[in-house]
Symmetry: C2
Subunit: 210 residues, 2 copies
Amino acid sequence: VKKVPEGVIERLPLYLNGLLQLQAQGRKTVSSKDIGDLTGVNPAEIRRDLIHFGTFGTKGIGYPINHLIRTIRKILGSDHSHQIAIVGGGNLGSAIANHSGWSRHGFVVAAVFDTDPRKIGTVVGGVRVSDVALLREIAGQEEIKIGVLAIPAEGAQLTAEMLVDAGVEIILNYTSTIVQLPARIQVHNSDPITELLYTLHYLTTTEPIA
Amino acid sequence: VKKVPEGVIERLPLYLNGLLQLQAQGRKTVSSKDIGDLTGVNPAEIRRDLIHFGTFGTKGIGYPINHLIRTIRKILGSDHSHQIAIVGGGNLGSAIANHSGWSRHGFVVAAVFDTDPRKIGTVVGGVRVSDVALLREIAGQEEIKIGVLAIPAEGAQLTAEMLVDAGVEIILNYTSTIVQLPARIQVHNSDPITELLYTLHYLTTTEPIA
C-alpha cells in the first residue's frame, strides 16, 4: 500500500464506520453514493479518495464491501491488534473499558489502572484493576502503545508522563488539562466541555441582539 | 464583537483551557509565548488571532488574563448559561454528568434520560433520571439546545431524532453510529474507537517491513 495523503486518512474512519453499518445491513457491494449518503461526504470526493489506495469500483455495481473494509483497516493500521491501557477505573474508565466495539476493531483493553485502593483488584470491562504504581511494568509486559486518561484533570500531566515513560505513543485525553509531551506523542483531546465550546457559536440565539 | 473567522474560532477553546490553567496558577497577565508554550500554537499566530477581536497585548507585559478569558468566552458563546440533556444514565452518562467543569463554563446539566426502569428516578450528577418518553416535554421546558448521546450504538439514530424534535441544535455523539440529521444540526462525534483510528497510523511499527 503506497503512502496515502493525510487529508484522505482523516476521512477513512468515517468511511469505515459507514461501511460497517451497511455491512451489518447485509450489503455485499456499495457505491460512492451509498457511502456519501451516510457520511455526508461528496461521492466524487469519496471516489478520488478510494483511488489513492488502488480500489476501483465497478460501474453499476460499486465496490465489494468486505474488500473495501479490509483495505481501509490496513491503511489505518487497525487490521492487527493493539493493546490499550485505561487509567481511571471510575464511571468514565468503566464505560470506555466496556465499549462493545473494541474487539471488532482489533483493540484489546489489556490493563486498567487506578490509585484508589477500593478500586484496585475489582474487575472493570473484564480486566482486573491494577495499582497505577505498576503502570510502567504492566504496560511494558503487555506492549501497550495506547493510553486513555479517564481521571480528574489535576492528575493528567503526571499520568500522561508516566504513560510516555512506559512506552505509550498515543494518548486519548478525556480531561480538560492540556498535557505537554514530546512532539512524537499523539494526543487526542476528548474533553466533552472543550468539544462543546467548538460548536456553541452555531446555536441560533434567542437573545435580543445588542 | 465583529465576525471572527472560523479558523480562529477553532483555536479558541484551546487558548481558553490554557488561560484557565495559567489563571489557576495565579497569573494576572500572559504573553502570546506563554499561551504558545502551553498549547503548542505558534505565538505569532496567537497574536494574529487575538487581534481579530480587538485584544492587544502590551509589549513586555502581555495580555490581562481575565479580560482575555472574558473576551474568548463571549466569542465562543460560553459567557452565558446553556442547558444540556444527557441521554443515557449508565457509566458514561454518569461520568459526563459528574464532570466538574460544567458550571465553570456556564453549562447546566438540566436533564438525564434513560429507558431502564431501574435507572429512572435515581440521581445522576445531581439530577433525577427521567424516562426518555418525557424527553420532548422536559427539553422544551428547560430550553435545552444541547444533547449528549451516551447510549448503545443501536439506539443512536432514533434518539438523535428525538433530541432534534425536542429543539436540540448541538449533539455530542459518543456512539460509533453515524447519525443522519438535518444539516443545521451540529453533530460532534466522540466515539473513542473512531478517535483512535485517526491516530493509529502514527504508531512506530515494530513489525518487519514487507
